[in-house]
Symmetry: C2
Subunit: 426 residues, 2 copies
């Protein structure tokens, strides 16, 4: 029995998916027993012909995928909130399983969409929304369903990881690294969504939702990008035994769940420090399972289409078994903690006056804020000195109070950079 597939979006991922569903049809059928047939492909501009997509399949109206009775299963790979959200919701309400790769949509409307899927008893799958071709959604929501996950650390944006690797290994400046990423197709002409951390923030919200079984609104994800990271930061980090990575962090704290994105200093021996270039990786910690690492290609048409195709096969199997699907994702209410209350550690680079008593005054600013200092390293120059300072763990809010106090000191010319330390021994 065949399963009719409707696909919204024929960009890099959608185009690859259509081609593979057509070219690999017999191989997939031999392996899975499923006869997957592309019935409709919805695109923005239906008048333009597309390589490898038969013209009679193309429509300009995404809602055709819902109304066309020959479409049994909807794949949404168009991206964005609209009209993707309306399409996914309508398909689920019509009882059609949905596979999406849309991190922005899943992050923003997961709770509502998961409910709609549960109400209709059909699957809503989104393995490709985080980590491209890396299986991470199923492991988190199924294999680790019995684990009280403590922390998920992810390198989930290949563009920024490529840039930071270039800066670290070739001493490239930020602008040079960005230009190289654009030249190689890792960065868009407008790189804002990547370098600002917004892309990673959507993924952090999804990871937190799955790890802790609660929906975290992307609005509640504290987000900092890599725009302020300089070659100097990376050089000093190396001196302290750290590499800088943009991390998505989902963490269970005594006060609630925290999801955030920021550049982080990782000890060079940390498993995520070895993740180079556009590769993505997700590191999971829990009391029973210890430490798990998943790594692989985080983007690109082929890997992402592979993850989407895996979901399509899974959803098609469920469809043919004619069963009501028991949802594997549940969102229970939980507190999302303000970032100011989350325990963090800071590494600060200060430009200071080179005179007696400076370190004592800096130390006093931290002491007054209730933050203790782990290590200080000072390098004199003619007219002043550079101080690198690593704190112990304390509430983010206290670290900020200390930093503000430093800025008010006349002997501190500049707080040149502030980067949080993750994964280091106290």
């Amino acid at each position: 029995m065949s399963v009719g597939i409707g696909i919204a979006g024929a960009g890099t991922v959608g185009g690859t998916l259509v081609r593979r569903l057509i070219e690999d049809h017999d191989a997939v059928e031999a392996r899975t027993g499923l006869d997957l047939v592309v019935r409709r492909v919805a695109v923005r501009d239906a008048s333009r012909s597309r390589d490898g997509i038969p013209g009679d399949l193309i429509t300009g109206d995404v809602m055709d995928l819902v109304s066309d009775p020959s479409v049994d299963l909807v794949v949404e790979v168009m991206g964005g909130l609209d009209p993707a959200g309306a399409l996914v919701l309508a398909a689920l309400e019509a009882g059609k399983p949905v596979v999406t790769a849309n991190k922005e949509l899943v992050a923003a409307r997961a709770r509502e969409l998961v409910s709609a899927a549960a109400a209709s008893g059909v699957p809503l799958l989104f393995e490709a929304a985080v980590g491209g071709g890396i299986p991470i959604i199923r492991p988190l929501s199924e294999t680790l369903a019995g684990e009280q996950v403590e922390r998920v650390l992810g390198i989930v944006n290949g563009t920024t990881n490529f840039m930071l690797t270039e800066m670290s290994e070739h001493g490239a400046a930020y602008d040079e690294a960005l230009a190289e990423a654009q030249r190689l197709g890792y960065a868009e002409p407008d790189p804002t969504a990547d370098v600002s951390g917004a892309d990673a923030a959507a993924k952090a919200a999804i990871l937190a939702g799955l790890a802790f079984g609660t929906w975290v609104s992307p609005d509640r994800v504290h987000t900092e990008g890599i725009e302020a990271i300089t070659a100097t930061d990376i050089r000093f980090a190396a001196q302290l035994g750290f590499v800088i990575r943009l991390l998505a962090v989902a963490e269970s704290t005594p006060d609630g769940v925290s999801a955030r994105v920021h550049p982080a200093m990782l000890p060079t021996g940390h498993p995520l420090a070895a993740v180079r270039g556009p590769t993505n990786a997700i590191f999971i910690q829990g009391p029973s399972v210890g430490e798990l690492l998943f790594s692989g290609p985080g983007a690109g048409g082929e890997p992402t289409a592979t993850a989407v195709l895996g979901d399509v096969i899974d959803a098609a199997r469920e469809l043919l078994s004619k069963s009501q699907v028991a949802p594997s994702i549940r969102f229970a209410p939980a507190d999302v903690v303000d970032f100011g209350e989350v325990p963090t550690r800071w590494c600060l680079r200060l430009e200071v006056a080179d005179q007696p008593g400076v370190l004592a005054r800096i130390a006093a600013a931290f002491g007054d804020a209730g933050v203790s200092i782990k290590s200080v390293w000072q390098e004199g120059r003619g007219d002043g000195a550079t101080v690198l300072l690593v704190t112990h763990t304390g509430p983010e809010g206290h670290q900020r109070v200390a930093a503000a106090a430093l800025r008010a000191l006349d002997v501190v010319f500049e707080v040149a950079s502030v980067i949080r330390v993750v994964g280091a021994a106290e």
Copy 2:
């Protein structure tokens, strides 16, 4: 609605699982909505009391798990082929979902058990059978269902990886490394199943079955252990830029599927070369997905029980949805290729006479066997010389012919070791 769980086996994994099902009952229910209740625990000696297991749950007859109507779902963590096999088959035939961590059973009887599960429309899950707490079964059988996987390389035995790490990092001899592994509880008093490669062979058969959708009998897995590896091998490997790891290899070749276990020389830059101590890791290569790496704790009660618990939750969800389960694993017939026909590369260490013309005669032996040599490194000693030789890829059978010819040469005193090279550039 509650789901009654029957557990066969109360060893390290079974005992941990029972304790967690009881202690974490409310947390699991809050997260998943499932009321999981332990109804029966079958043990070999029912007269002995067990920590944390209420005495009235204990039975000495595993078949009670099938006949007891309060048991909805059977967990088999007793290990071995008998009576585990009879229990699993009877439970599936009685329409009860089965979760097992038994690699030996799954490897030996996967085809028959998967058929029985499909016939009854109930799940048979075995995430814990390979890689302990690392999610690998679901990613291979579900997420990558649409990928034509080319190769799976696994470090799937923590005991031998710990020993090889000790030998490599501390210069330990084989016996010292084994004693240390036993002292730390990583190796059994009788370490045969680990060091002979038998444990890894069962896992290689399972990985090949899932990666290529065909059942590979463990009898067809070419298996070599680490018993012959010496500190000298490891020292010379390091000199050539390799580390030695015991690998499970599942590979698709033009002539069929190959599954094997043997020590391998991995380039130090290979992702699996960084896997140290008792950690397990699985590396997957495919044309679309590129390279994926999964790593984590490969054994131990807590991680393994976590994987079993994830399967129990999944199976319980299916049970409550009262659906016929669409099996995600299918075994199609496929050729298993003889190891002699599989392309391999060899690294040989030879003790030879230090006289003119020796290298020419060695090279001729390879040339006659149709194997070409990639690199040769010779170190003279007073009375002879050590030659390290790395071949290009050629059929395993040809490499063996060359090695046999070397042994017949009067100038070759000894073929001191033969270790295959994996993951290096040609």
